[in-house]
Amino acid sequence: MEAFNIALRGIFIDNMIFAYFLGMCSFLAVSKKVSTALGLGLAVIFVLSITVPVNWLLQEFILKEGALSWLGADFATIDLTFLQFIMFIAVIASMVQLVEMVIEKVSPALYGSLGIFLPLIAVNCAILGSSLFMVQRDYTIVEATSFGFGSGVGFFLAIVALAAIREKLKYSRVPNGLKGLGITMLITGLMGLAFKSFIGIAL
């Protein structure tokens, strides 16, 4: 039940975009059309649900202070936390590569539609951010998995909704300086206000 709550919180209350501003770059750059936003959103859900648990295992069995004790008593005092960033980013980059290869083999159609977005995900802050939050909040592996999935769905919702709004926006007259990024920021702010309404829900 706790795991379910964490996923739900990740989707609505602690939304990656509206509460932590993570993954903004791709959020802004790839939200011009709903179809591409859908593709990126799905890829993010996929990668997040894999990388967060994998990084959890790394953190628990290699990086944490005393995590290496399974190798023998001599290793019990080793603390490799300072390697966290490098390990996490390496896992993410290689996972993305792996996912890309698997998708290419299994479903060329999906691969074609995701296209360049898959490699882009490696440098999406939402992915690294989720792993870092997972460490900070001391989740168990089940919670970490559901947190990864929930954050992914939250990102998916946000980017698809923004893309839909921006498609409609083409028909309105926006002041020159505000076109593109400016108006998108303001819209994101308003969407964030709407998402605020979930805060009162106690889970």
Binding site: I86, C125, G177, M185
Partner: protein, 226 residues
């Protein structure tokens, strides 16, 4: 392209062309362009995540700016020195490794000497790794230019990023908490009833302030997105 460069080099060797002055016009342009016309945040739309997340108060923003400038300049320098030895196919991983090392350095220094600030910035120090400005500059500039120029380019982009997030932080702290660098400015001038705007402390305020800032900045430079 490389042939051409080789020829140019040869000619320079023979004639002993005078070295370019340390701050020639071209080099000044490398630094000044990202400050306004080619600003990483407002024009190129890079590095937005951290720009918004840490700007509730001025102080963490300043620390963040310093950290980012440090990381950009040194990763630019290192990649520029290595640019001819990095195989093209693994360059992303090499770049990430260099950035991650520098960020680890920053985070360890913060943890050792400035622990309170480390707690405030929490995961966002680590997220400098995925700050697109850093990666963007490495890909677009340091991979193809000499070390000194790359340092200048890093300085330009770093400060272009810094002044935007400091401006956002200025307005957010002023209107949201009524202070600048934790100095209660409105109370100091005797306006005790200044209403703090809760929206500004909230993520929503960051989007609004940055949106308006982009509007103002783009109107000034005349940049229009299509």
């Amino acid at each position: 392209m490389s042939n051409e460069a080789a020829v140019v080099e040869k000619v320079q060797e023979v004639v002993k062309a005078p070295a370019e002055p340390l701050l020639s016009k071209r080099r000044k342009k490398i630094v000044s362009d990202p400050l306004s016309e080619d600003n990483p945040i407002t024009v190129q739309v890079l590095g937005i995540c951290s720009a918004l997340a840490v700007t509730v108060k001025m102080e963490p923003t300043l620390v963040m700016s310093v950290a980012v400038v440090f990381v950009i300049v040194f990763s630019n320098l290192i990649i520029s020195l290595l640019r001819n030895t990095i195989p093209n196919r693994v360059r992303i991983i090499v770049q990430l490794a260099v950035i991650a090392t520098l960020v680890t350095l920053v985070s360890e220094v913060l943890k050792a000497y400035y622990y309170d600030m480390f707690k405030v910035l929490s995961v966002f120090v680590g997220l400098i790794i995925t700050n697109c400005i850093v990666m963007g500059r490495l890909e677009a500039y340091a991979m193809g230019n000499k070390p000194y120029d790359s340092i200048l380019d890093g300085l330009g982009s770093g400060f272009g990023y810094a002044w935007i997030i400091l401006t956002v932080a200025f307005f957010r702290e002023l209107l949201g908490s009524g202070s600048i660098f934790d100095f209660k400015i409105f109370e100091a001038v005797g306006w005790y009833s200044f209403p703090n705007n809760g929206l500004m402390v909230d993520p929503v305020g960051a989007f609004m302030v940055l949106g308006i800032l982009i509007w103002v900045q783009r109107t000034k430079t005349g940049y229009v997105e299509h």
